[in-house]
């Protein structure tokens, strides 16, 4: 008894210390101090940390909608100080005639670099049309020159691939200017009214992807973004379904016979294996199956009346984090991808910490996001995989089911902070938070990898 108490006290001390040292406290306060949608909040962006970027206006018309999409993507990347030009968008950027003395910085493209530099811009993004293609020019303001030019052929604005093609331009800007891949050409799957829907990361292109007649839960992306897996209720039993996004073909994962209840699918990073939970008389256990060769159904956990569920692979494919109720309450565990070496992953205080669920391993491998019961409601936490420490990310309302963006710095999650349950996106670097959709009842989001050209078509 004495030892337990001492142990508890020690653990509490460690956790408190970790939280206060690992996370700069302003981030916790700031991200929760706003419930406004997409509004910058009063946190201190250290000047000079984020490069300034100006998106130059275009003439009204199609190019203007391209500019609006790219401008929003770059803003949502949270990697730039997006600068509004004096006079707003009405300012004609055309071949400007700068005041005398600034001619030295005026380039052949006719941009007023010195003005943009004075406004704090490091980059300027400009659009032009050439035939049926749109040209994006990325200007290096300090150098006074075009750094890179990208182009994409534009289809009709209503076309399925139209917006994705433009999102790729935005990702190319992020890559070329900062050397980091962007999130623009991605989608988020989620559950609403027991059906799986898809929406682009900017909130556009909302559509149903699971069967209109059957109830579905727990969507998951294949690592190449070409397939999705989800659980479908079939006569009361959960079955793991696959959907090929390019062909629209649906199939049931090998081994998911409908005799048991299978749920929470996850693809391995090499795309060969689907891990899932199977509920039987003995409880719920994790299984893997080689779905492509329809073989090798394998049981990874032997719960003996405990539950093991919600698998998520490390990006190197060697480990699986999952939920286990073996300590009495659900907590986050980890094991080798073959089921060996099962151990506690996210530390908790026995008898004090609430249930922990819904782990998602970040694409950079450094973090596992999950939610934990804190005083009867749920909050999003992040486990630092190397340090083995957890920090609480949210504190306002009920926040659950986090899913990482491909950049490993944005998370989508479910929150009722604005009055009803909806999807929100938070940037862990700046603490900026925005709702994804103005709809209620969304659950279980799954953020896609960067989507390939072929899968950009609407399924």
């Amino acid at each position: 008894m004495k030892t337990v108490r001492r142990l508890d006290g020690k653990t509490v001390g460690v956790i408190v210390l970790t939280v206060s040292t690992v996370v700069p406290s302003y981030r916790l306060w700031s991200q929760d101090s706003t419930i406004d949608k997409g509004v910058r909040i009063g946190i201190t962006y250290r000047p000079g940390v984020r490069p300034g970027l100006v998106v130059l206006p275009t003439a009204p018309g199609q190019l203007d909608s391209v500019r609006a999409i790219v401008g929003r993507d770059l803003d949502f990347s949270d990697r730039y100080e997006v600068i509004t030009l004096p006079g707003g968008d009405s300012l004609d950027p055309g071949p400007s005639v700068p005041a005398g003395g600034h001619t030295a910085t005026k380039s052949i493209s006719g941009l007023n670099y010195s003005l943009y530099q004075a406004l704090g811009a490091d980059f300027a993004v400009q659009f032009r049309t050439v035939g049926d293609s749109v040209l994006l020019l990325l200007h290096d303001v300090a150098a006074g020159a075009v750094r890179r030019t990208f182009s994409t052929r534009l289809t009709a604005p209503g076309d399925p691939g139209y917006r994705m093609a433009i999102h790729r331009l935005a990702d190319q800007v992020v890559q070329a200017s900062l050397g980091a891949p962007g999130n623009a050409a991605t989608r988020i799957l989620f559950v609403k009214d027991k059906h799986v829907y898809s929406v682009d990361q900017d909130g556009a292109n909302f559509h149903l992807v699971s069967s209109a007649t059957k109830e579905a839960l727990s969507p998951a992306w294949s690592p190449d973004g070409k397939k999705i897996a989800y659980m479908e209720f079939n006569g009361g039993h959960g079955q793991i379904n696959l959907l090929d996004l390019a062909t629209g073909k649906r199939s049931v994962v090998y081994g998911s016979t409908g005799k048991y209840s299978d749920f929470t699918p996850a693809f391995s990073p090499d795309g060969k294996t689907v891990a899932f939970s199977r509920a039987t008389e003995e409880g719920t256990d994790l299984w893997t199956v080689n779905y492509r060769d329809a073989c090798c159904l394998q049981r990874l956990t032997v719960g003996r009346y405990s539950d093991n569920l919600s698998p998520t692979y490390s990006p190197d494919g060697r480990r699986i984090a999952f939920v286990s109720t073996r300590p009495g309450l659900a907590q986050i565990y980890v094991m080798g991808a073959d089921g060996t070496d099962q151990q506690l992953f996210a530390p908790f205080d026995y008898g004090v910490t609430g249930s922990s669920n819904a782990p998602d391993w970040s694409p950079d491998g450094l973090s596992v996001a999950f939610h934990r019961d804190v005083g009867g409601t749920l909050q999003v936490f992040v486990l630092d995989v190397r340090k083995g420490t957890v920090k609480q990310l949210t504190s306002v309302g009920r926040n659950e089911d986090p899913t990482w963006a491909p950049d490993s710095r944005h998370l989508a999650f479910v929150s009722d902070r604005a009055g009803y349950r909806q999807l929100w996106i938070i940037d862990l670097e700046t603490g900026r938070i925005r709702p994804l959709l103005q709809q209620s009842g969304e659950r279980l989001p799954a953020w896609s990898p960067r989507l390939p050209e072929a899968a950009s078509a609407t399924p």
Partner: protein, 206 residues
């Protein structure tokens, strides 16, 4: 029901009467001899007596039939009532504490009743569906619902019911009885539901 029954009865009586009448030409061939009117009259009288006798016999038969039918209907209705009673006993839900899957003491009597029914009706197969309130994690609740369904199944099996007669499913938190967001609703929603998969046509009350 009574109107239907009397309609059926009327239809039955006429049917029998028609059948009886139909038989008449067989027993009394109709010779169209016009020789002796006295003999003819006597024969006609005899015929009408025979017809009347046949008629009353048919009527008696129909009466007996209808009584038998009514009795059968009565006992069928009684059986149906018993079946309804058994069905409602079988459908009685059991409830659980928050994040728990243990059968509560007060609910054991409800399960004992189901054991008696299953023993009395060997052809009966049932499904137990575990359900959760909305407070826990959505995916975790599928596992919890599974444990709740299997807790009830385990109770039945340890009391002698063949495991093959019981199927379990988990609805997680997806099928709340009460969609409200309060303690009352949550308590109602943390439950096992019992339904008949097969052999529920002629249930016998234990």
């Amino acid at each position: 029901m009574t109107r239907l029954q009397s309609l059926a009865l009327a239809a039955l009586t006429t049917a029998i009467a028609v059948a009886a009448c139909g038989k008449k030409p067989d027993t009394t061939p109709t010779p169209v001899a016009q020789a002796d009117t006295a003999a003819e009259n006597a024969k006609r009288r005899a015929d009408s007596i025979a017809a009347a006798q046949a008629d009353s016999a048919a009527r008696a038969r129909a009466m007996a039939d209808s009584i038998a039918r009514a009795r059968a209907a009565d006992s069928a209705a009684a059986a149906a009532r018993a079946g309804d009673e058994v069905r409602s006993m079988l459908a009685t839900m059991i409830h659980f504490e928050f994040n728990k899957a243990e059968v509560q003491g007060a609910d054991q009597a409800i399960l004992d009743q189901k054991i008696a029914i299953l023993q009395k009706n060997p052809g009966l197969r049932i499904q137990i569906a575990g359900n959760c309130d909305e407070r826990g994690s959505q995916e975790y609740n599928l596992a919890l619902g599974n444990r709740r369904a299997n807790a009830a199944k385990q109770y039945l099996v340890t009391h002698g019911i063949d495991a093959g007669r019981i199927e379990t499913v988990s609805n997680g938190e997806e099928r709340p009885l009460d969609p409200a967001h309060n303690e009352d609703a949550w308590a109602k929603n943390r439950r096992d539901e019992f339904s008949i998969l097969a052999g529920g046509d002629a249930l016998v009350k234990p």
